[in-house]
Structures are given as structure tokens and as C-alpha cells.
């Protein structure tokens, strides 16, 4: 075959939280290596481009390869050797995707559809930094650059067009989301913790990152209150001061181990007027409950207990699953776009080959003819030049249009046919030069590292 195209095959080999236990994932992450582990794969003969993604839930090699099976063997061989994982074990816990499936996998990972908690946003940042490393080391090329950028934009599209990440799936986060629906902007608002449990601390932390400006911590043992208020940057108060503090705060997170209600209805009825009827939001995560649920009946007071928050979280999880279906649809359509870009890559060298061949014939024949025609003036010379040019472009017009517009099914066939008809042989060489170019990136990188040593 005159065409050598396999450089654009995409291969993914990896493990995630579903396929391998943490011990295996740790080993495969190759953290102990001196050099960045990506270099290991980059140096393999069948690998043209590579990105190495390693997070606490997954380790993956994403590669642009010449030939699937040899690249796969090479990667597995070196990976098992360096990570010291028996090949049998490795094969059992890894997955391998190629071509369209590999593209789909990368898109799904980027949009957090393959994550432990679907919709969790961290993975996109991790993928971005893995790509950045690959790019800086010159390990990524035309194919993976495009694949990664496409994956990032797909992830963004899914984020904005579906509600996959808009729902809180933890109790403390759900509480903050509710607070936002009551108060809008949380900046300038103040919160109080009654009881200094772990979950209350987590919720308080969420509130602080969302811009809350004041925090009070009340606890049975004042020491613990002081300790926690120090770590969170708040003010410690005693339980006796809670009633007065209720006049000022907007959000109350209660989590004491007290058997009865810590906040009573009469107390709140009394303080609403001095509060000037400002909204008051109780998050009661204690069992048994700390806040009298009847307080919810008081105007401008809202009480949510742990069961109600759990319900919100469960609903949101179900909602995420539904949104995931929508996201898969978006991915399907993006894969089609990416594949058509990939196949357009084949066309470019063929078109260029066609044009170059025609141009060289034109020039050769033109000089031959002009040798015999000696008494031509400037104008006539130009006219002949123009004539040959337009002949070439008119003849090539239709085959080029055919290549560009031909449907994807018989595109490969058409490419082969056209290069056979015109006996275009220079295409292999052209692709080789492109590989050389990408290797020269590595050279500059090497130079950079020697500079560092100096």
C-alpha cells in the first residue's frame, strides 16, 4: 500500500478504582522513578506520542501509536518490568482501548463520567496537568494535542449543558447549597457551630470557602471550641452565650450529643424581633436532633435535619445518573467530529502529493517548451505560464473535491485509489519528516536538561 497511516491510532492502557486495588495502582503509578515515568513510554519504538495520567483513582497511558499490537506489547512489557507487577496480574487488572473506544474513554474520563463519584470535577484538572507535563517534555504530538484539547472542551460542554456536576452529593455540601438558596451570596453572613463534631467542621469549612465572613464556635468543653475556632479562624463562645449569639448569626450548624433540644422554639420566637426578622437557617446534623423541628414553622426560619439533608443528597445522586445519559450522548456526537478530523489527516498528504506532482510536471514541461520558443515577449511568456497553471488546477479540481467531500465509508478506498492512479510515492517520506520534527522537540528538551545540569 502506498499509504502509511497508522501513526494516528490511539491506544489507552490503564487501571482505575474499579479494576485494580490501591496496591496495584500505587505500583503502576511509578512514583519512585527518578525521571518522569512518561519518558519510559515515550522512548518505545512504536509509540509516537504519549500522555501519562496518574491520580489516586487511576493510572493510564494514552498513546498515539504506529501499530496497535506491537505498541501494546512494548508498553505492557516495560510497565510490568519497571513496576514489578507480574504480567498475568497486570493483564487481569488493566483495560485496553483502541481507536474509537480509546477516544470515548478519554472523553469520559475528562468529563468525570468514569470517576468514582460521577461529576466530581478534580479529574479534569488532573488530566490537564498530565497533558501539560507531556507537552512540556515534548511527548505529545499532533494527534494527542488535538485529542486532549477536544477532551477538555467536551468536558466543559458537558459541564455547562448537563447538570451533572451541579448537584451536591455530600451532606455538608448540600447544606451549603441550601444556604446559598436562602441567602444568595454568603459573603457578609455569619455562622455558628453548636458542638464541634467532625461533620460540623467540614460544613463550616465549606461555608468559609464560600465566603462567609464570621464564625462562632460553641461547645460543651470550651477547650475544644477554642481549638476548633483556631483552626477555622473563628471565635469561641460558651454554650451559655448561644442564645445571645443567635440574634446576630445567619446560619447555625448544630451537632451536639445532647439528649434533648438545644435550641428551643420559644427562644427563637423571642429573638426574631431583635433580629429584625432576618432569615435564620438551621442545619441540624445531630442524632438525636438538637433543633426543635417546629422552629421551621416560625416565619423566616428554616430548619433542615440530617435525614432531610440525606434525602437531598440521594435525589441528587439519582439526578446525576440521569444527567450522565445526556452526557454520553454529547460524547457520541463529539467522537464523530473527532474521527472526521482524524480521517481528514489522511487527505492532506494525498492532496499535497497530487498538487506537488502536477506542479513538478508543469514546470518540467514548461521549461522544455520554452526552450524551443525563443521569440516570445514578456506578455506572451506570462500568458503561457498562466495557461499551464489553470490547466493543472482545472484538472485537479474534481479529484480534490472528491477527496474532501467523499463520505467516510469509502474514503480510505478513494485515497488508496487516487494515490495509485497518480502513483504518489512521496507520502511515506512526508510522514517520516513529521515524526522527525516531533523528535526534534525531544532534542531541545534534552538540551534544556543539560543546561540545568550546568
Amino acid at each position: 500500500m502506498p499509504l502509511d497511516m497508522p501513526s494516528k491510532e490511539i491506544l489507552v492502557i490503564g487501571v482505575n478504582h474499579k479494576t485494580a486495588p490501591v496496591e496495584v495502582r500505587e505500583r503502576l503509578a511509578l512514583n519512585q522513578m527518578e525521571n518522569p515515568p512518561i519518558k519510559l513510554f515515550w522512548e518505545l519504538p512504536s509509540v509516537r506520542e504519549v500522555v501519562f495520567l496518574s491520580t489516586c483513582n487511576r493510572v493510564e497511558v494514552i498513546a498515539g501509536v504506529k501499530d496497535y499490537s506491537s505498541a501494546r506489547d512494548e508498553i505492557i512489557d516495560i510497565w510490568t518490568k519497571v513496576a514489578q507487577v507480574p504480567t498475568e496480574n497486570f493483564l487481569k487488572s488493566t483495560y485496553t482501548y483502541k481507536g474509537e473506544e480509546a477516544i470515548r474513554h478519554v472523553f469520559r474520563v475528562a468529563s468525570s463520567l468514569d470517576s468514582m463519584v460521577v461529576g466530581e470535577p478534580q479529574i479534569l484538572g488532573q488530566l490537564k496537568s498530565a497533558y501539560r507535563t507531556a507537552h512540556e517534555l515534548g511527548c505529545s504530538g499532533q494527534i494527542l494535542n488535538k485529542l486532549m484539547h477536544k477532551a477538555f472542551s467536551v468536558a466543559k460542554k458537558i459541564r455547562t449543558e448537563t447538570r451533572i456536576a451541579s448537584q451536591a452529593v455530600s451532606i455538608s455540601y448540600a447544606a451549603v447549597e441550601l444556604a446559598k438558596k436562602i441567602f444568595g451570596d454568603l459573603s457578609g453572613k455569619s455562622a455558628m457551630l453548636i458542638g464541634a463534631g467532625e461533620m460540623a467542621e467540614l460544613a463550616a469549612q465549606h461555608l468559609i470557602t464560600n465566603g462567609i465572613s464570621e464564625l462562632k464556635v460553641a461547645n460543651r468543653t470550651l477547650e475544644r471550641a477554642i481549638e476548633l475556632s483556631k483552626t477555622l479562624g473563628g471565635e469561641a463562645i460558651s454554650l451559655a452565650e448561644v442564645e445571645d449569639a443567635l440574634i446576630d448569626v445567619d446560619i447555625v450548624i448544630s451537632s451536639t450529643g445532647a439528649p434533648g433540644f438545644v435550641v428551643k422554639k420559644e427562644q427563637i420566637q423571642k429573638i426574631m424581633r431583635p433580629r429584625r426578622h432576618r432569615l435564620l437557617f438551621f442545619i441540624d446534623i445531630a442524632v438525636p436532633r438538637d433543633v426543635d423541628p417546629e422552629i421551621n414553622d416560625i416565619e423566616n426560619c428554616y430548619v433542615f435535619d440530617i435525614d432531610e439533608l440525606k434525602e437531598v443528597v440521594e435525589e441528587n445522586k439519582a439526578e446525576r445518573q440521569k444527567e450522565a445519559v445526556k452526557a454520553e450522548r454529547i460524547i457520541d456526537s463529539e467522537i464523530i467530529k473527532f474521527k472526521s478530523w482524524l480521517s481528514s489527516l489522511d487527505i492532506v498528504p494525498v492532496i499535497r502529493g497530487l498538487q506537488e506532482k502536477a506542479e513538478s510536471i508543469r514546470k518540467k514541461e514548461l521549461t522544455k517548451t520554452l526552450k524551443n520558443l525563443k521569440n516570445l515577449d514578456e506578455k506572451e511568456l506570462k500568458a503561457i505560464e498562466k495557461l499551464t497553471q489553470s490547466l493543472v488546477s482545472k484538472i485537479l479540481h474534481d479529484p480534490i473535491i472528491f477527496l474532501k467531500k467523499g463520505n467516510s465509508e469509502n474514503k480510505e478506498e478513494a485515497l488508496v485509489m487516487i494515490s495509485k492512479i497518480f502513483s504518489l510515492n512521496g507520502i511515506n517520506e512526508m510522514q517520516e519528516t513529521s515524526k522527525k520534527q516531533s523528535h526534534s522537540c525531544e532534542d531541545t528538551e534534552k538540551k534544556a536538561s543539560t543546561n540545568e545540569q550546568l
Partner: protein
């Protein structure tokens, strides 16, 4: 021509309303943008239609019911667009645009004959009094809409129904603040409308205040809004109570605006 432009306006408003409703259901941002463009286009054509009417009648077109409704829809649309430029209160469009459309429909179905202006109405106080009053109506309608949104959202949170409605409406505090804002701008306009009306009454009929039904009802409306603002500013009334009060005030306003003319005719009726 005026009529054709008004029909064109109505079509733009209907399309905008449809857009806002679709946006409310699907949350698609591009649909919301198109809806806003339709509203802007509607406002532009509407302005032309009012100006043309002014030229053909020879007096400011705020005399007959047809003209008054048209002007009110125009003011409402303008007020909403200006408000959205500053605050971008989500889902408000889906509540306001149906009202804009409805008022425009009311204008379209009224008789459009140009009547000679009675001599008492021929004064420069006419455009001043009428336009100020109608602008206050527009602003108070906005605060009514936002209060309705507040009550819906408040109910969702109190009953712990955190579904689709809850997710689509803005936060309680935002709604409360915005309703107050409209109230605080609308109320001075209402006051000014009553004052200019009374000055005009003195010029036309010789008395500042003659307890005509329209005057009585506008005073009642004014007192309701004044009480609400007073409670908000001194005692710190807010939320549900304030929203209910806004709605009561608006109902009184509605009666002053339309009801009085139909049920309690007096010197103040619109020309029809």
C-alpha cells in the same frame, strides 16, 4: 401603520415570552438570550408605534384605554430590560414577559379610534401626570412579580421540596432585596403621580382634592405601600410578610387603575 406596528410588537413579545418559558424549563442560555433580543426588538417597534400615534393624535397618547395599556406595556418592558442589565435576576423574564404580553393584548383589543381631547384634559400636566403614574405602575408590577417568586420559593424551602422549581428560582434573600428595590423606586413615582395629579386637578377643576373614587383609591393604594415601606425600614419586616403586603398593595393598585373606571365612574374615567 400604528396598528400594524403594535401587532408586530405583540408578536415580538409573544416570541420573547415563549423563549423565557422554554428557558425556564430547559435552562438553555441561548434561548434566554434570543428571548431578550425579541423583547428589545419589541420595545423598539413599540416606541415607534407610540411616537406615530402621538403624531397622528396630536396629543401624548396616554388618554384612552388602548393608549394607556400600550404605554404601560412599554414602560414595563423598559423597566424589566433596564433592571436585568443591572441585576440579571434569573427566571424573572418568565414571570414578567407574560404580563407584558397580556397588557399589550389588552391594548390591542381596545377600540383604537382617536377621540377629540376634552378641553379639561388639554394641559401639559396630562403627559406628566399620566406617564409618571404609569411608570410607577410598571415598577410596582415588577415588585409584585418578584414577590410572587419569593412566595413560591419560600414555600419550596419550608416544605422541603427541593425539586425543579427550587433549582430554577433565585435565592430568597436576592428576591427580597430586589422586590424592595423596585418598591423603593416605584413608591416615589407613585407619590409624584398623585401630587402632579392633584396640581392638575386644581388647574382643571379648581380643587386639589375632591374625593373622586379614583383619588380615594389611589390614596388607599399609596397608604398600603407607605405602610409596607415603613414596616420594612423600621421594624425590619421582610420575607413572606412583606411579599404578601406587596401583593395586597398591587391588587389595590390594579383596582385603582382599572376597577375604578368600570365600577365607580367619576370625573377621572379614561376616554373611551
Amino acid at each position: 401603520m400604528t396598528e400594524f406596528l403594535l401587532h408586530l410588537t405583540l408578536i415580538a413579545y409573544i416570541l420573547a415570552t415563549a423563549g423565557f418559558l422554554v428557558n425556564l424549563i430547559t435552562l438553555r442560555k441561548d434561548v434566554e438570550r434570543f428571548a431578550t433580543y425579541f423583547l428589545l426588538a419589541g420595545l423598539f417597534i413599540h416606541t415607534l408605534s407610540i411616537l406615530l400615534r402621538w403624531i397622528s393624535t396630536g396629543h401624548p397618547p396616554i388618554v384612552s384605554f388602548h393608549e394607556v395599556f400600550s404605554f404601560l406595556a412599554w414602560a414595563l418592558c423598559l423597566a424589566f430590560l433596564l433592571f436585568q442589565m443591572g441585576h440579571k435576576l434569573k427566571a424573572l423574564g418568565a414571570f414578567i414577559s407574560p404580563i407584558i404580553t397580556l397588557v399589550t393584548v389588552l391594548s390591542v383589543i381596545q377600540p383604537k379610534k382617536i377621540l377629540p381631547l376634552p378641553p379639561v384634559l388639554q394641559s401639559y400636566w396630562l403627559p406628566i401626570h399620566a406617564s409618571i403614574s404609569l411608570i410607577s405602575y410598571a415598577l410596582l408590577t415588577m415588585s409584585f412579580c418578584i414577590s410572587i417568586m419569593y412566595l413560591i420559593q419560600e414555600r419550596q424551602i419550608k416544605k422541603k421540596r427541593l425539586g425543579a422549581i427550587f433549582k430554577r428560582l433565585p435565592s430568597l434573600q436576592t428576591l427580597d432585596t430586589m422586590a424592595e428595590k423596585c418598591l423603593k423606586i416605584g413608591f416615589p413615582f407613585l407619590t409624584l403621580g398623585i401630587i402632579t395629579g392633584s396640581i392638575w386637578a386644581e388647574k382643571a377643576w379648581g380643587a386639589y382634592w375632591s374625593w373622586d373614587p379614583k383619588e380615594t383609591w389611589s390614596l388607599i393604594t399609596w397608604l398600603l405601600y407607605a405602610a409596607l415601606l415603613h414596616q420594612r425600614l423600621t421594624v425590619g419586616w421582610r420575607g413572606k410578610r412583606s411579599a404578601y403586603m406587596t401583593i395586597i398593595g398591587f391588587l389595590a393598585l390594579l383596582f385603582t387603575f382599572i376597577g375604578v373606571t368600570y365600577f365607580l365612574p367619576g370625573a377621572h374615567s379614561y376616554a373611551s
